[in-house]
């Protein structure tokens, strides 16, 4: 007897060990496990007939939009309640999990946020996403249309946009005043450079910071001039004249005009930068509108000091903004409730209320431009308190000047080249000229 029980004990131990090993390797890609998630929330109806939908995102804050939408949905359609299980994972983690889930055909959520920089990966081959045309086409003209095109393939719209991403200039009014510069007098980049010289002369701050680890200091600037990484036909134009000159201009801002510095930490999303900016390290920063949330959340000391203005323009009649970045929310083909998931997603992202919520909750410039003029959008919120009440005046004034970006399946490669080689070699270590670096990057992308 003793022997036998020992035997059983040994075996059960073995299985426990094996099971434990199996779990460790899982990494959290299965839909039931929230392993590795930054945040998990179950939102909505607790009644048993509620349909459960899963939602993944890479930004915890995005859950708030869906929380709001689920509440409205359940009030409006009490006969079709939804219970949404929302999970936020780190950026890289979520995109990789999703990629593997879609490749292997199992484990993907019903609804998921995909960031623009990675979106082309999910459009390669046969997209494992459901087309949203039936919902997009009727309302398309109320939206900044280009925001649908960047998440589309072969006439099918897969991703629903989260914001326009209009790039603007954030100025620290306190520093600009100390330098004796009237912010509203800055209209062109020449004015901006002149203002920068005054800032550097009269204050301890630098005029602006330029990213080397990401492309937000560069992409809007070339887009403003009608250039891009790709032309409308998807041909690579990375090393065209405008792009080279713009990169040269950035180099000049740092080393000749001496009004710019390389962003501490390498990017405007780094801890080092938040601290630097919060302490009044720079008088301005050029970033898309969605960057507002980073100010309110990570740079609290600047409340009431920052103002939002259009970007300086390159020529007298040049554009004063450019669309940059984005998040496309999609329904995957692994959902068990395709119709409900699509309808709910459209309800969240394509309705007027949904777009107002994008502004109120997230501080995003809603892609449905018809709400920009609504009185509701003028209601007080934390962004108005932080940046002043003229945000939408600025936005409305540049509405016609936001050009669409051209996205191809090689965008991830461009981002990779720019953020590892080009900006580093040209702006930081100065061992390549703008032309050399961009030509080399172009060759690397073409050969891939």
């Amino acid at each position: 007897m003793k022997k036998r029980s020992l035997f059983i004990l040994l075996f059960s131990m073995l299985f426990v060990i094996l099971a434990a090993c199996g779990k460790g390797g899982g990494g959290g890609s299965s839909e039931d496990s929230a392993e590795g998630a930054d945040a998990t929330e179950v939102i909505g109806s607790e009644s048993e007939d509620a349909t459960e939908l899963n939602f993944w995102t890479f930004n915890e804050l995005h859950i708030n939009i869906f929380e709001d939408a689920v509440k409205r949905w359940n009030e409006e359609f009490p006969d079709r309640p939804i219970s949404l299980k929302a999970e936020a994972y780190p950026y890289d983690n979520m995109h990789n999990n999703l990629l593997l889930a879609l490749q292997s055909g199992t484990g993907a959520p019903d609804i998921v946020d995909i960031e623009l920089g990675r979106f082309p990966n999910y459009l390669q081959g046969e997209p494992q996403l459901l087309p949203m045309n039936e919902y997009v086409e009727p309302v398309k003209e109320n939206f900044i249309e280009s925001r649908f095109d960047i998440y589309a393939k072969d006439g099918n719209y897969y991703g629903l946009p989260t914001h326009v991403g209009a790039t603007v200039a954030f100025y620290n009014k306190e520093i600009m005043d100390a330098a004796g510069v009237d912010i509203d007098s800055i209209e062109t980049w020449d004015d901006y450079v002149e203002a920068g010289k005054k800032v550097v002369e009269n204050t301890d701050a630098t005029m602006t910071t330029l990213e080397t680890g990401d492309y937000w200091s560069y992409w809007p600037l070339i887009k403003q001039q009608g250039s891009d990484f790709f032309d409308e036909n998807g041909e690579l134009t990375l090393a065209n004249e405008t792009n080279i000159e713009t990169l040269d201009f950035m180099h000049r801002l740092i080393y000749e005009e001496k009004i710019a510095e390389i962003t501490p930490g390498g990017g405007h999303h780094e801890e080092e930068y938040y601290g630097f900016m919060n302490d009044g390290g720079a008088a301005s920063v050029i970033m898309p509108m969605w960057y507002m949330g980073r100010f309110t959340d990570y740079m609290e000391d600047l409340k009431g000091k920052m103002v939002i203005r259009p970007m300086p323009k390159w020529t007298e009649d040049g554009n004063r903004s450019a669309g940059a970045g984005g998040t496309g929310t999609v329904v995957t083909n692994q959902t068990e409730h395709p119709e409900l998931a699509k309808e709910f997603l459209a309800y969240t992202k394509l309705s007027e209320e949904g777009n107002l919520a994008l502004w109120e909750i997230m501080g995003f410039d809603p892609p449905m431009w018809t709400v920009w003029e609504k009185p509701e959008i003028r209601e007080d919120n934390k962004y108005y308190q932080y940046f002043g009440t003229d945000i939408f005046d600025t936005l409305l004034s540049v509405r016609e000047e936001i050009d669409s970006i051209n996205i191809t399946d090689k965008n991830p490669l461009v981002q990779e080249q720019l953020s590892t080689n080009v900006f580093n070699n040209v702006l930081r270590s100065e061992n390549q000229s703008a032309e050399e670096a961009l030509k080399e990057a172009e060759a690397a992308i073409e050969n891939n």
């Binding site: 060990i17 890289d92 990966n121 390669q124 081959g125 046969e126 680890g213 490669l413 690397a444």
Partner: protein, 310 residues
């Protein structure tokens, strides 16, 4: 009575035979190794084979096609060579440091002249229990680029200007090697301590009688006696070095400036997942496997380990 007896034998016989089957000398060894064989087949051999197959394909959902060797033709590009050279430098540095330093430290800890050696042993081993990612976060803060960061304060004492640790090729490599050293030093000390425990005391006594000093004892007794352990430590350090990924990832999660921190495994990750090019990623993996294989064989042959075994 008879009936009862029969029924008991009937009911106990199958049990006994199952037990007997599992306890027979022929079967038991297989039962005991089966979990490991199974996990090897499932977790190593199957992925290995499918990895090799994948390296000849482009893989998109529902559209997997064989494309011959074109993944391999793309491998020899500047980024791959950058990754290879980073990894090679890293392997050389970690192998040298993580063999010599632990050996010397283990010898010192083992000597009777060192006090509180248990405290040192424990504290040197503790880093091995930390996850690389967690340690990396702390390292990243210590080696921040601001003047006030710990590392810049330290170099400031010696009159060195604040360094941008994460943005230079040399300092970047320094960070990765430092993190690996900090983490693995204790483990390697443990290996050498185990090796030292097997060195017979009489040899040292005999050497002392012959008038050998500390250095000579180390050179002529400790070093040769530790050879098997040294070979083992060198081998695993080389393999771990080629497989290195976390030490680079914690410092540059989104890709390093000028690819100063790109390792071969990092390149697999970048191409396979970030660029959705699993076939190309698999091809790099196969090349990495061949590199590790060749180097391990070379190293084991040169150190004579294979000969002895055969």
């Amino acid at each position: 009575m008879i009936e009862r007896a029969v029924s008991t034998t009937n009911s106990s016989r199958p049990k006994r035979s199952i037990k007997g089957f599992f306890l027979s000398r022929k079967v038991v060894p297989y039962v005991f190794v089966s979990p490991f064989i199974l996990s090897f087949l499932l977790l190593f051999l199957y992925p290995l084979i499918s990895g090799v197959v994948m390296s000849f394909q482009t893989i998109l959902p529902g559209q997997t096609t064989f494309i011959g060797t074109s993944n391999y033709e793309r491998i020899l590009n500047p980024t791959f060579f950058k990754a290879l050279s980073n990894t090679t430098v890293y392997v050389i540095l970690t192998t040298v440091i993580l063999t010599i330093v632990p050996m010397v430290l283990a010898t010192m800890l083992n000597s009777k002249f060192v006090r509180f050696s248990n405290v040192f042993r424990a504290s040197l081993f503790i880093p091995a229990l930390t996850s690389t990612i967690v340690a990396g976060v702390v390292f990243r803060l210590m080696f921040g680029e601001s003047e006030a960061s710990l590392a810049n304060t330290v170099v400031g004492f010696f009159g060195v200007e604040p360094l941008e640790w994460k943005f230079g090729a040399a300092t970047g490599m320094f960070l990765m090697v430092l993190l690996a050293t900090w983490k693995w030093l204790g483990v390697n000390i443990l290996y050498f301590m185990a090796g030292l425990a097997n060195v017979p005391r009489e040899l040292y006594e005999a050497a002392e009688i012959d008038g050998a000093g500390i250095f000579n004892k180390f050179r002529h007794i400790t070093l040769p006696m530790l050879k098997p352990i040294t070979v083992y430590v060198v081998t695993i350090t080389i393999i771990a070095g080629f497989r290195m990924y976390e030490e680079s990832y914690v410092f540059w999660p989104e890709g390093s400036p000028g690819n100063i921190g790109l390792t071969i495994v990092g390149y697999i990750y970048q191409q396979g997942f970030r660029m959705n090019d699993l076939g190309f990623g698999a091809a790099i993996g196969v090349v990495l496997m061949l590199i590790i294989f060749v180097i391990s064989i070379l190293q084991l042959t040169l150190s004579g380990t294979l000969k002895k075994g055969g």
